[in-house]
């Protein structure tokens, strides 16, 4: 009998933490999430059921600390040579149970990448923010406030827009930044966020990349307001809402890397975003494999298990083939992130573009395969009871975020074909 561990992974790439991470998170998933997840959709606003599971994972198991340096209570992933492959395994195992929890957990690292990763560690900010995540047994959430009402994912479409459409402003007043603006949709907003990384401009309309600023704002700073969460097709464990910044004042040194570098290393954030997205897809799809094994092994057509019908088996083959390929691809990309010495910096246009390409491939395959899987199950395919419809709703969201497919296509074409005007 095969298990999800039979799907291919490049053995030589696995991180020293791989086995340990895999073990503790899978136990957590099987015990704390999978038995309850069918009731998560109705819990989208309150998180009565969801919050305790987060506390276990992030606070008690302490996985929200991993990026920070060891001497600050972290696990030193930020300066390791296996941040990509190690987080991939973490996210994959969480996503197997619930990809919304995986993204909420993963996004905790998203702004911290700007200050915890070599070669651009901002020691002062690490020291300042580490305690918030390391000295607690409760889940603590961070978020990247990027998207704005007018532009959708324009802000991620750096190549073209170059920050010119950013309307959230940061003005230096003495040694404080004064931030004003309105952001939408970030993961871990809707009231749960503790620390924001805010994408803003020091000079509205400017295409000068040194005006692009990434500034940290603790959620309890006066002038910060979070709206209530939006209702969505899925991903109940991930809250998204509006955030308003009105005359918000933070210390000057809360700017992550400084003029130019904020822009440069923000592209590393995009790379990690794509890596995460791929890992969420493979994790959820591994669970889909488990579900298909059970359904097609125990339901009969013509008196034989469904899986023994050649036509059904053909579809099953198409699905596991994709899962295996997505996983290989995800680990290859994680390795490219782990080894800039071999593949170039994580923020290079090449790494960003290839991440986009792999991400939209993984999402497209998953959405199509989930549609086929639901159809194989007939009416059970749309029952909450089988969980496939859950993964279908959740992974659709992964496909749509971060600018969606079209932005991925444009960045892929732009890099490979040197397009100038896309």
């Amino acid at each position: 009998m095969r298990t999800i561990d039979h799907f291919t992974r490049p053995k030589e790439y696995l991180s020293p933490l791989d086995e340990y991470f895999g073990k503790i998170v899978r136990q957590w998933a099987d015990k704390e999430v999978i038995p309850y997840r069918r009731r998560y959709d109705e819990d989208w606003k309150e998180h009565h059921l969801i919050e305790p599971a987060f506390d276990k994972l992030m606070g008690e198991l302490g996985l929200q600390r991993v990026l920070f340096p060891e001497d600050l209570g972290g696990w030193g992933l930020g300066h390791s040579h296996y941040i990509g492959t190690a987080s991939y395994r973490l996210f994959e195992e969480v996503a197997r149970a619930d990809s919304a929890m995986a993204v909420a957990f993963g996004v905790v690292f998203w702004p911290l990448i700007m200050i915890c990763n070599e070669p651009h560690v901002n020691r002062r900010l690490c020291e300042e923010f580490a305690p918030m995540f390391c000295n607690t047994r409760k889940a603590v959430f961070a978020a990247n406030a990027m998207t704005e009402p007018q532009g959708g994912a324009d802000i991620e479409n750096m190549e073209i827009v170059q920050g010119a459409t950013i309307e959230t402003t940061a003005v230096l007043d003495g040694d404080e930044w004064v931030i004003n603006g309105h952001k939408l949709w970030p993961t871990n907003s809707g009231g749960v966020c503790n620390l924001f990384g805010v994408v803003c401009t020091t000079n509205p309309g400017s295409r000068d990349l040194s005006d692009f600023a990434f500034i940290f704002v603790p959620a309890d700073t006066s002038g910060v307001a979070q709206g209530s969460p939006y209702q969505k097709a899925g991903m109940a464990a991930d809250k998204n809402g509006d955030i308003w910044f009105e005359q918000v004042r933070v210390p000057k040194h809360y700017r992550a890397c400084g003029p130019g570098d904020d822009y440069k290393y923000f592209k590393e954030v995009i790379s990690f975003g794509n890596l995460g997205s791929i890992s969420f897809v493979s994790g959820a799809m591994l669970n889909v494999f488990e579900i298909l094994q059970e359904f097609c092994g125990n339901r009969a057509y013509g008196g034989r298990p469904l899986k023994e019908n050649d036509a059904v088996a053909g579809v099953l083959a198409d699905i596991v083939k994709d899962i295996d390929i997505i996983r290989v691809l995800g680990y290859q990309y994680a390795r490219m992130i782990d080894r800039p010495d071999l593949y170039g910096p994580r923020w290079s246009d090449e790494i960003v573009a290839k991440g986009r390409a792999y991400k939209y491939f993984a999402c497209d395959r998953a959405v199509e395969d989930l549609g086929k899987a639901m159809n194989l199950l007939e009416s059970s395919g749309s029952d909450r009871a089988w969980d496939i419809e859950k993964h279908w709703r959740d992974l659709k969201i992964v496909q749509l975020w971060m600018g969606g497919k079209q932005l991925c296509q444009m960045e892929t074409a732009r890099w490979y074909f040197d397009c100038k005007t896309l």
């Binding site: 959709d41 324009d154 125990n298 009969a300 008196g303 036509a311 749309s382 009871a385 659709k396 600018g403």
Partner: protein, 414 residues
């Protein structure tokens, strides 16, 4: 202006009465559902029942198929196919689930209320449920299902699947038994079930009508599902349920095919209607959305325009196919009876194309809209969940294709 008139349909096939009914339903859709979405955003389900009541009772849709002498409208000739195509487009545009409930109800009743197979005794007895009431009346079907483990324990197979219930003859009644049956819809509140049963001492299975209030029929918990909120579905148990012998509507495969042919036409029309709604949502988005910073309108970008064109292209083709099928169903003298393979196969083929295309088309529209695609606020994601739910209820495509293979290649052992 919705611009739906940009999507052609075969005008020479429909009568003025069809067009005017469709216009009425379009008004219903806009007044009772589309315009109220915003106010009911937080609890969309609350608007469903009132809207359905308007449609089923006030617009008298639930009387449609019944003969006039039973208090119905008497639209029970094959020509009703064209009426259904145009009407259900509008209902599906408003809400896929409401359209689906009507589709199944009509298909069930078509097995004994159509002119071609009219069973007056049954009509007289059943019609009041639908025609002499101020309550919404729903019909539902219980069809063969996957077996569990070894089928030997589960009685005879029908086309590879297990018959959901068994019936034995006892004087002038049929006694029906079956555990945890999964109806296509409305297990929690349907007034009439058509249950496909194994008949004791007979080779062929048959469809038996079981009223929702029959003693021995118990309804399980309403369960959660992806879509079709209008359908309160639940498993049902039948324990020694007794119904008159006449409730055995038919025996064998062809009459079942006839029910399915009508169900396929109706579901196809509902899906095309949902695609209309998709097109309208996409238009709104494309008109107001700006990309690449200010200035460039969403619809003027060649990539997004290309995808929008692809989607509209598929909608156009689906509508043409839908009305072609309606035309075929409306003329049995030219295209055979809906129970015959020659008509049943095109019906299966067309509805499969439409529902699969719709899944893809709505998926793509969501891609165009980014987070607005999955935000409840923009309504699109509901059509996406509804259409997919309806599609899976039409059956596993791989197994449905075995029917096509038998037809096109005379396979014998599939």
């Amino acid at each position: 202006m919705s611009n739906l008139d940009l999507i052609p349909y075969p005008k020479d096939m429909v009568q003025e009465s069809d067009v005017s009914l469709a216009r009425t339903l379009q008004q219903w859709a806009e007044a009772e559902v589309l315009s109220k979405r915003l106010e009911y955003r937080e609890d969309y389900e609350k608007l469903l029942k009132p809207a359905m009541r308007k449609l089923f009772i006030d617009v008298e849709l639930q009387k449609m198929i019944w003969p006039e002498n039973c208090g119905g409208i008497g639209l029970n000739t094959p020509e009703v196919a064209r009426t259904l195509a145009l009407s259900l487009e509008q209902i599906g545009r408003a809400d896929t689930g409401i359209g689906y409930l009507f589709s199944v109800t009509f298909a069930l009743c078509s097995s004994f209320a159509m002119e071609t197979n009219l069973n007056e005794e049954l009509c007289d007895r059943i019609a009041p449920l639908f025609c002499q009431t101020q309550e919404i009346a729903l019909g539902s079907l219980v069809l063969p299902a996957f077996g569990r483990g070894e089928h030997s324990a589960e009685g005879p197979l029908f086309r590879g699947k297990v018959l959901p219930a068994r019936a034995r003859r006892d004087g002038d009644t049929w006694v029906v038994n079956g555990k945890s049956l999964r109806p296509l819809n409305s297990g929690a509140d349907a007034q009439l079930f058509g249950v496909f049963c194994a008949l004791e001492k007979e080779d062929e299975p048959g469809l038996i009508l079981v009223p929702g209030d029959a003693p021995g029929l118990t309804r399980g918990e309403r369960f959660l599902k992806t879509g079709l909120a209008a359908s309160d579905n639940a498993d049902i148990d039948l324990t020694e349920v007794r119904v008159p012998v006449e409730n055995l509507v038919f025996r064998g495969e062809n009459p079942l095919r006839q029910i399915l042919s009508w169900l396929y036409l109706n579901s196809g029309a509902v899906t095309v209607g949902s695609l209309f709604a998709t097109y309208e949502i996409m238009r709104d988005w494309a008109e107001m959305r700006v990309i690449k910073g200010k200035g460039s309108l969403f619809k003027e970008n060649p990539l997004t325009a290309s995808l929008m064109a692809e989607i509209s292209h598929e909608i156009l083709l689906s509508r043409l196919l839908l009305h072609q099928l309606a035309q075929m169903l409306s003329k049995p003298e030219l295209y055979r009876q809906p129970g015959e393979e020659r008509l049943y196969i095109p019906a299966l083929s067309v509805v499969s194309h439409i529902t699969q295309t719709a899944e893809k088309a709505i998926n793509q529209t969501m891609e165009l809209m980014g987070s607005a695609g999955y935000a409840t606020e923009w309504n699109l994601e509901r059509y996406w969940r509804d259409v997919k739910t309806m599609q899976v209820h039409l059956g596993n495509w791989e197994l449905n294709k075995m029917e096509l293979a038998r037809y096109f290649f005379q396979c014998r052992n599939l």
